[in-house]
């Protein structure tokens, strides 16, 4: 399932979508950045409520497919600009991290059927 397909399935609002054709292979949820770098896998969707500039670095270095911002948190314009420049997909949702993870799990399962 691509990031663009996930955005449609979960009614996500794109904040930065420079590489919507990236394929998602699973997910990781967390707000402690080193924990995410230690545990998230390449091509995961990363669910978080963090919005600072370091999120973009962590997403880039961890090579995740997209960052899903829960609870409708909104990054600064500088963070959005950097996401676009570094090919990092950022999308937001009013759902909590948990509800977003549940919805993502359903969407990935349906897509693999």
């Amino acid at each position: 399932m691509t990031v663009t397909e996930l955005a449609a399935a979960l009614s996500l609002t794109p904040v930065a979508l420079p590489d919507g054709e990236r394929v998602i292979n699973g997910a990781y949820m967390g707000d402690l950045l080193s924990w995410v770098m230690g545990r998230a896998r390449a091509d995961n969707a990363w669910i978080t409520i963090m919005t600072n500039m370091n999120v973009i670095a962590v997403a880039s270095l961890s090579d995740v497919a997209c960052v899903l911002l829960a609870e409708d948190v909104m990054p600064d314009q500088a963070v959005i600009d950097t996401a676009n420049a570094r090919d990092i997909n950022l999308l937001r949702s009013p759902l909590s991290s948990y509800d977003l993870a549940v919805a993502l799990s359903d969407a990935l399962r349906k897509a693999s059927l």
């Binding site: 402690l32 080193s34 370091n54």
Partner: protein, 141 residues
């Protein structure tokens, strides 16, 4: 180390938390241009980023050197910070001496050094309290 190894040097700015990671991002780009495989790039750039963050948090910056030869990639991070009093303790997941303002940014979880070890094939720490720390890491192809 062979004579045709590629060497990169970076000054890590200790003042600027937001720009921390610039050296890692540049190395990621350089390794990609060299045709290094994606997983090796991921391991090197995460290990280096954790090192950069540590130098910004604890040591007011430092130096990062990366050497690429035919067998792999070596990363050398050196600083003139406070040093690490107990390296075994610092290597434990969850142990951190980072201040609270760093935690609010999502760092200081005590995972930096463990991640550096996790993603590299070899890692050595030399540290003298009051003088500084040098970390050498190697990722083999």
């Amino acid at each position: 180390m062979s004579d045709n190894a590629l060497r990169f040097h970076f000054d890590v700015d200790g003042e600027n938390f937001t720009s921390a990671g610039q050296a890692s991002v540049k190395i990621k780009k350089s390794l990609r241009e060299l045709g290094v495989d994606a997983e090796t790039i991921r391991r090197v750039s995460i290990a280096m980023y954790e090192g950069e963050i540590n130098m910004v948090i604890h040591a007011n910056g430092g130096d990062a050197d990366v050497i690429v030869d035919e067998r792999g990639i070596e990363i050398i991070l050196s600083d003139h910070g406070p040093g690490i009093a107990n390296i075994d303790q610092a290597m434990q997941e969850g142990f951190s001496t980072a201040p609270d303002n760093v935690r609010s940014l999502g760092f200081g979880a005590g995972m930096g050094l463990p991640n550096m070890k996790r993603y590299t094939d070899d890692m050595t720490i030399e540290s003298v309290v009051g003088e500084g720390t040098t970390i050498r890491m190697r990722v083999n192809f």
